[in-house]
Amino acid sequence: MAKTSEKLYRDREKRVMDAIALRVPDRIPIEVLFGFFPAKYSGMTIEEVMYDPEKLLQAQMKTLLEFQPDMEQNPFGIRFLGPILGVLDFKQLKWAGHGVPVDLTYQFVEGEYMKADEYDHFLLDPSDFMMRRYWPRICGSLKGLEKLTPIHSIITYYMGIPFGFAPFSFPDVIEALEALKKAGQESMRIATYSRAFTEKAKEAGFPMQFGAFTQAPFDTLGDFFRGTKEIMLDMYRRPDTLIKACEKLLPFMFEIAVNATKVSGNPRVFIPIHKGLDTFMSIEQFRKFYWPTLRELMVALINEGLNPCPLWEGDCTTRLEIIKDIPAGKACYAFEATDMVKAKEVLRDTVCIRGNIPLSLLAIKTPDEVRTYCKNLIDSVGKNGGYIMDASTGLDDAKPENVRAMFDFTREYGVY
């Protein structure tokens, strides 16, 4: 690592960490979620970067070096997914060439992947439920796993062992195990490229934004297990069970984050927020179902020396006072459509805020209009630290000239 890159790396790390700690950095940090922007920017299809790690590496490095954000997001664990999803015959996404055209972003397929009457199984033994019921539903290639004996029932030579392993000889179970072996190899490729990217970016002087990824327990349950509509109904029909399930997931959500930060050595934990928003539930529902386990997760991460970085997708202006209740100077809240002036007012002494140039502006307006918006935003919420410039969400379809205007203007005008 060249001396200047080393210094740049340290400066950037300090700039962002100063903002998170509510100190005043040398200038306003700027970082974005590039999404699939690098593919388009490099003249590649989305299918190409999802399947060809060299192309993804090339597109991402080109974008990184040309725009020079203060921190980068490692794209491998969220973009180089084509081969592993294919091997698994993954059902929860439609992706380039698999349900959507080759130049479109992947999209989530909503579903009730855990039925209401399966809560009991989930609460009794989540891992058993996941391996024998949930995996076979979300991965076509793992269908055979439904036939396995529950792992918790294979205990010793006269309990479990004599008969319990029989399913491992069934053809469809063997097929599932073959698929898992291939998925394992694809996982290794993703991990290898992911590490290589972090190294390469570091050599060029860029730290990673996040060292781990986790979710609010309510979102994990609603997004992947119950479905958006069903979890909404659960709030009325089985409120206590819903809360128990969130509590069951809490230690898993914590463990996922902590383990990843140990591997990456990076304390910042990304937490996309999907359902705890103004339009998706009332304040009472938020207080009862959503916030308790999210807050506990964030506080536990902070106690572990980590920095939770939720992205509050949508609008959460009405619940700023509630989400203010966490230890000061440790977290960073990115906002999509929340009123930033109000957010600054409420969170000033507690949490660094990040965001939120609208994607409509970046995708269809002009650089001048982008600069004006950035100026107003910086003037109203960017004073005295505790602020990071970003778009409202992933850049996917933003115009390059508008992204450049956002970066150049912020670097120049955002000096403290």
């Binding site: 349900g99 999209q107 397929v109 958006t228 509509k229 109904l233 339009t279 969400t393 996917d396």
Partner: protein
Amino acid sequence: MNGKLIQLMADLKEKETIAMVKELIDGGIDPMVILNDASSAMAIVGKRFETGEYFIPDLVFSGEILKSISEIVKPLLEKGEASTKKGKVLIGTVAGDIHDIGKDIVTFMLDVSGYNVLDVGIDVPAPIFVEKIKEFQPQVLGLSGFLTLAFDSMKKTVEALEQAGLRDGLKIMIGGGQIDDEVCKYARADAYGKDAMVAVNLCRQWIGD
């Protein structure tokens, strides 16, 4: 009209509402009366959503209660005995986008508000919108989209309607994730709505109540 039934349903008391419906049916009430009460209750639910007392989960739950009532009542109705509709709305998620939650909620709220709604689904290419609009002849078109890629799909859909000579006399409303007034201008739609009740109000304004 049964004020108590309306109240129970508007307050989202699922079990009590269904029990009362069954009781009334057993007592020999005209099933149309129950449907009318359910529709009055839904109007209250819509109002409460508009004033910020209710949220999307409340709308979704009220939809489930309404569905249960319909399942009980519909088999008892004489054929052809349905309330007259106020006007036609065609709705769909634009090309490339497979999101349907927002679209489904808008469809549901328009339906219970008395409009004849044709939902043409998700990832709908512009030529299909053109074809369906020719067939169905709605007064209002609702375009839904969650992702930024929907900006261009919406624009292309409106352009295709212009080219097909179907734009005049058709009101177009758009909504979803990243959609806002800027996108409305860009796509040359007539209005952007931030939620389902805005969609209902736009239809009231354009078609009448």
